[in-house]
Every structure is written in structure tokens, then in C-alpha cells.
């Protein structure tokens, strides 16, 4: 029998974290992700877990540092301005090679911005954001089901590579309710090992006077050694790039237009593809699931026979930079809204139709438009 329920995205992520063995959650209230904390506050005490409302996002991520270094599956959740604050701790966590999971339910910025959904955190989650050379593994759900499965997956990937993993959601996915099936989200986790830290022999569990010191740190003032640590970390990142790129391609093989979009924007593009059928424009969708590592080869393949590429984001164009890095021989257009405004299928369709007609007329690929 399937384990199907109707849930908000934020709650689905919280429940999935618990099912993935997370018993340590450190939160701080910020709209539109506060349901995650509320859910954890309700559930954790009943399963001998810890929910702690920290004094700030900065404190919360440093509590995650401590708990992760102590060997536990630990998590924090926030929304964009809060993630900016967490960046210090994220850099330290990456520098200390600690696994943890961060959920960012993105809202519009910059600054305090607004509380409506946006995708304007792409830069700060995929390009580092904090100081130093490091990467986050970034998963981008586009359904409530994926909020759950990707949160659980994030714990597995974080442990596998000893690296922070981030689930990049947004205010729509966090707040909307959809039916979800919890049957697949427990994979990769043994519930009997919740407080057994033996598979993390590096953790600070106390020496028990039986082994040498375990030390969790990011500092190394010897330049030769610090560079070597960075080289080794980048070798790990090369492994992540080799093994973990994930994406989805939807639509007819020989389409005129390729949409590139993730998360909520990808959902809107699916509707746009249907709308375009009436206009006799064939379109398909390439949806990166891992934003880092970016599924570059799959994108090149998907774009091979199309006439134009349209990148759709709820921002002024951030992921488009990674698309441009990978596609040089096609015109690339942009359709996006920001500030909490949502791109509408009709607006996106117009960009796609214009793109195809510009190419039909003069074959030019210098068209820079896309936003009204």
C-alpha cells in the first residue's frame, strides 16, 4: 500500500528529512519557509529528536556545523535573506568537509525584498556565495513530491561526499499542497543507525581515550597545505560532477524551441509547450534537477537540433549564464519575471514565437529581447 498524503511542500521536506534520519533541526523563522520549523517543532520531541529555534540564521547554521561535526544528520531551513546570513557558516561547513542539508525556500530580493516566490538565489547557491573555493550540491525540486524525495536524497549525497547539500525551492513550492507518496523517500537510510556514528569515524564523539583526536576545522595557515586541501576538495567535486548530474527532458525530440527552466518555472514551461501547439510551434523542456553540478552535456544534447533556446527564470536571468556557457551556436532568449511576479505561459509563448519567426525571417541570432 502506498503512503500517500496531501501536504504543503515545506511540510513534505520536513517529513522527508525525518524519514531520512535527521533528528537535529536548527531553524529561524522567516516567510515563506516557517512551516518547516513548525513541523519540526511538533514532530521532533515525539521521536527523541531535537528542534531548536536559534537566535539567528547565523547561529542556526553554526549549530548545524556543530551537530554535523558531531556525526549527526543535521539540517536547517531558511529563505533568501536568511540564506545570505548563513553563507558564512556554509563556507566553514564546506571547508571542514561536513555533510548537512540546507533548504532555501526562495523569496524575492534583493534586500528584504518581498515574501513572494522567486528564483533569484541561483547565483548565491550555485556560485559559492560565501568566501573561498567551494561548491554546494544543489537540487531543484519542481513538485511537492520532489521537495520530499530531493530532501532525502540531499542527505544521502551530503554524507556520500561529506559536503553540504542544498534544496533550492521557492515560495510557491513551499506553500502549495499536492499529493505525495512517501514510499521512495526512505531509501539509503537505516533507522537503527540514527545514533550510531560508527560510519563517521572522523566525527567529534569524544576520544573515549581509545583513539587520537578528531578535529573539525577549516583553518590552515600553511599555504602549501591549504592549497593541497583545496585541490583534494576539487577532486571530490570532479567526482560529484561525474556521478551526480541530474536533469529531465520533456517534449518532442525534434522541437523548434528548447525551454530551459528549473523548479516552478519548469512547471510553467510545461503549460507553455501545450499552448504553443495551437500556434504550431513545437517546443520541449530541459529541466536541470541538479543546478550544481549543472547537467551541461545533457543540455548540449537537448539543444542540438532546436532553432532557438528560451531560458525561463523568476529572476532577471541568472541560470542563463550557465546556459550560454554550454550553447554557443544557437540564439538564446530570456523570459522572466521578478519581485514575486510569475511568468505567464502566454508571455513565454510570445518570446518563443518571436524567436522562431526572427530566425525564419533573417536567420539572425542577435535578438536580445525577451522581457517586455
Amino acid at each position: 500500500m502506498s503512503d500517500k498524503v496531501l501536504m504543503k511542500g515545506n511540510e513534505a521536506a520536513a517529513e522527508a528529512a525525518i524519514r531520512a534520519g535527521c533528528r537535529y533541526f536548527f531553524g529561524y523563522p522567516i516567510t515563506p519557509q516557517t512551516e518547516v520549523s513548525a513541523y519540526m517543532a511538533k514532530k521532533m520531541p515525539k521521536i527523541d529528536g531535537v528542534f531548536l529555534q536559534a537566535e539567528s540564521e547565523v547561529a542556526a547554521i553554526n549549530m548545524v556545523f556543530g551537530a554535523a561535526g558531531a556525526g549527526a544528520r543535521a539540517m536547517t531551513s531558511t529563505s533568501s535573506p536568511g540564506f545570505s546570513l548563513k553563507q558564512e557558516g556554509v563556507s566553514y561547513i564546506a571547508g571542514a568537509d561536513l555533510p548537512c542539508v540546507i533548504l532555501d525556500v526562495v523569496r524575492a530580493g534583493p534586500g528584504l525584498g518581498g515574501i513572494q516566490a522567486a528564483q533569484s538565489d541561483y547565483f548565491q547557491v550555485t556560485k559559492g556565495g560565501g568566501h573561498g573555493d567551494y561548491r554546494l550540491i544543489v537540487l531543484a525540486p519542481s513538485t511537492v513530491q520532489e521537495m520530499a524525495t530531493f530532501t532525502a536524497l540531499a542527505f544521502d549525497l551530503a554524507d556520500k561526499y561529506r559536503n553540504p547539500a542544498l534544496v533550492l525551492s521557492d515560495g510557491i513550492l513551499g506553500q502549495m499542497m499536492e499529493p505525495i507518496d512517501f514510499d521512495d523517500v526512505e531509501a539509503g537510510f537505516d533507522p537503527s543507525k540514527i545514533r550510531d556514528f560508527s560510519d563517521k569515524p572522523w566525527a567529534t564523539t569524544g576520544t573515549n581515550c581509545k583513539r587520537g583526536q578528531n578535529l573539525i576545522k577549516s583553518i590552515n595557515t600553511n599555504p602549501v597545505e591549504l592549497e593541497q586541501e583545496n585541490i583534494e576538495r576539487y577532486a571530490k567535486y570532479a567526482e560529484v560532477e561525474k556521478n551526480e548530474k541530474r536533469c529531465e527532458t520533456i517534449g518532442v525530440e525534434n522541437a523548434d524551441v528548447l525551454f530551459v527552466a528549473y523548479g516552478t518555472s519548469a512547471r510553467i514551461c510545461k503549460n507553455t509547450i501545450e499552448l504553443l501547439k495551437k500556434e504550431r510551434v513545437t517546443a520541449k523542456l530541459f529541466r536541470p534537477i541538479t543546478l550544481w553540478p549543472f547537467p551541461d552535456d545533457a543540455l548540449k544534447l537537448a539543444a542540438k537540433n532546436v532553432k532557438a533556446v528560451v531560458v525561463v527564470e523568476m529572476s532577471h536571468g541568472q541560470m542563463i549564464e550557465d546556459v550560454r556557457l554550454n550553447i554557443q551556436d544557437k540564439p538564446i532568449y530570456f523570459s522572466g519575471r521578478s519581485g514575486g511576479m510569475i511568468p505567464l505561459p502566454a508571455d513565454i509563448a510570445k518570446v518563443a514565437i518571436d524567436a522562431v519567426s526572427v530566425i525564419k525571417n533573417d536567420g539572425s541570432n542577435t535578438y536580445e529581447g525577451g522581457r517586455e
Binding site: 537535529y24 536548527f26 516567510t31 515563506p32 516557517t34 512551516e35 513548525a38 517543532a41 511538533k42 520531541p45 515525539k46 531535537v50 531548536l52 536559534a54 537566535e55 539567528s56 547565523v58 547561529a59 542556526a60 553554526n62 549549530m63 548545524v64 556545523f65 556543530g66 551537530a67 554535523a68 561535526g69 558531531a70 556525526g71 549527526a72 543535521a74 558564512e88 557558516g89 566553514y92 571542514a96 518581498g114 515574501i115 513572494q116 567529534t204 564523539t205 569524544g206 576520544t207 573515549n208 581515550c209 581509545k210 587520537g212 583526536q213 578528531n214 578535529l215 573539525i216 576545522k217 577549516s218 583553518i219 514575486g340
Partner: protein, 278 residues
């Protein structure tokens, strides 16, 4: 023959990087002796700060995590919540604890977090070369108060022991010094009480230890001690600031009333704030 003196077992043989005359070495040894005496080396997890003591993990055999500047109490909280039966302590200077990490300090204290903080107050930023600290005395000359600390632009020194002792959460708060044998003995005894408080799961303990910084004060070590006694002790009086058994009322939520949970579900403010935007 009976052995009456030896290096504490938890200390390593690594020579410290501290300046000549610095009291970090003295305090490390006292912390180490208390860890030895209580027999908790194998259970202890230390959190080192940013500041002169950043490398203290090199001098102790026990497990360590190195925290970001000011964040040690938050990191210690994370460790302690995972290992409630282990002994978790932070070791922080006044810049780390009383400036950039004030929020983490106050909130770990008010939560009654069952950790021990060893707080070294030497009235100056040592590692960065002698800038004004939140604890710098009025009139004290530092790199960033070249004309002496002056109230109209730099305000007044902050008394952490005084401030934290107004909170309900902390169980034990004491201010000590290491300028004399008598005070060193008192520091050792106070740290023993502080760690014991944690072992007994009785809550937050902090020992503030007044310390000298001959290098950045620009004085020979003995003169620095004298200056400390004459000036620092007046602003930061030694003594016991709080010693109270905290009653941590624990509600059995495993069998909590479902009605209460339902009520909390309906009290969210998020929906209200979203409506505001409409």
C-alpha cells in the same frame, strides 16, 4: 617517592605559539588539570575560537571543533544536543565572545545550554595586533583608540559576568584572574565547579578569566600584571556572579495533548503576512 606534580595528561607536548608572558598557557594548563582531575578527557569535546587561542586544539588530546569568529557557543550547542552525555566547552576571548559573538553567548546562556564557557578577557584584540575590544578600559590606548578609549565615540566596556548573571538561564558565573598563586587556585576551583555543573546536567556555566596581553599592552609581563591589578580589577571586579540550581521543567511531549498541538497549528502569522501583501 610520591609524585606531587606533573603535566596534565590531556595536554600534548606541542610547544604553544603564545607570546612570552601571555597567560593563555597558564589558563590552558588549569583547564587541562580540571579535565584530568574530573576524569573526562575521553568524553570532552572542545570548541576553539577565532583569536589567539584558535590553535588550542594542538595543545589538547581531546576532540575539537574550530568555530567561526563568535560562533563557538552555537557550535557547542550543536555538538551538545547530539551528545548530551559528553562534556562540551568553548574557550573564547573578549572580541570573540563579547563583540561579534554576543548574540550566540547571550542566547546559549539564556537557554541554559548545558555547556561550559571559558572566557578570556584581556581588554584587547590580541591576534590582529592590539585593537580596541568591547572590554577595553576607558582611556586605554590601542591601535584603534590611539588617543585612548573615549566614551562619546567608543562607549564603555562591557561586563559579561554582570550582564549574563541577570539572566534566568545560567547556573554558574564567576570572574577570576591568574595574576597570583591565590587567584590561579581560585580559577582552578571555579573551573572545577563549572565543569561539574555540566557533568551534573545543571546547565550553563561560564568562568570569565581576566588576562594580560603584554605584547599589545606594550608592557613587560610583570608590569602588565601590576597594571591589571590596578586598573582592570576596578572595572571588572572578581567574584561569584551567579550560583543557582536551575529548574529545567521538562514537559513530556511524547504523550502531549493533541489539542495543544492543533492550537499551535492555527496560530501561525505567516498567512497574515502574505495577506498583507495582496
Amino acid at each position: 617517592m610520591e609524585k606531587v606534580f606533573s603535566k596534565p595528561h590531556v595536554l600534548t607536548d606541542t610547544p604553544t605559539h603564545y607570546c612570552p608572558g601571555c597567560t593563555h598557557g597558564v589558563i590552558h594548563r588549569i583547564v587541562a588539570k580540571v579535565i584530568d582531575d574530573l576524569g573526562i578527557e575521553g568524553d570532552t569535546i572542545g570548541i576553539s575560537p577565532v583569536g589567539c587561542a584558535v590553535f588550542m586544539y594542538n595543545y589538547f588530546h581531546c576532540d575539537f571543533q574550530q568555530a567561526a569568529h563568535g560562533r563557538a557557543p552555537a557550535v557547542a550547542t550543536g555538538v551538545k544536543r547530539v551528545h548530551p552525555d559528553k562534556i562540551v566547552f568553548t574557550y573564547q576571548g573578549d572580541g570573540d565572545l563579547a563583540a561579534i559573538g554576543t548574540a550566540e553567548t547571550v542566547h546559549a546562556a539564556t537557554r541554559g545550554e548545558n555547556i561550559t564557557i571559558v572566557y578570556i578577557n584581556n581588554s584587547i584584540y590580541g591576534m590582529t595586533g592590539g585593537q580596541m575590544a568591547p572590554t577595553t578600559l576607558m582611556g586605554q590606548v590601542t591601535q584603534t583608540t590611539p588617543y585612548g578609549r573615549e566614551a562619546s565615540t567608543q562607549g564603555f566596556p562591557i561586563g559579561i559576568a554582570e550582564m549574563l548573571s541577570t539572566l534566568e538561564g545560567p547556573s554558574y558565573i564567576k570572574r577570576c584572574a591568574v595574576d597570583s598563586i591565590k587567584h590561579i587556585k581560585d580559577t582552578e576551583e571555579s573551573l572545577r565547579v563549572a565543569f561539574q555543573r555540566q557533568i551534573d546536567k545543571k546547565g550553563f556555566s561560564l568562568v570569565e578569566i581576566l588576562s594580560t596581553c603584554p605584547t599589545n599592552w606594550g608592557m613587560p609581563p610583570l608590569e602588565a600584571m601590576e597594571w591589571e591589578r590596578e586598573n582592570v580589577f576596578k572595572v571588572f571586579p572578581l567574584g561569584l556572579y551567579k550560583d543557582k540550581e536551575i529548574n529545567f521543567y521538562h514537559k513530556d511531549v511524547a504523550n502531549a495533548d493533541e489539542k495543544a498541538i492543533k492550537a499551535s497549528e492555527n496560530s501561525g502569522t505567516d498567512c497574515d503576512s502574505i495577506k498583507e501583501e495582496d
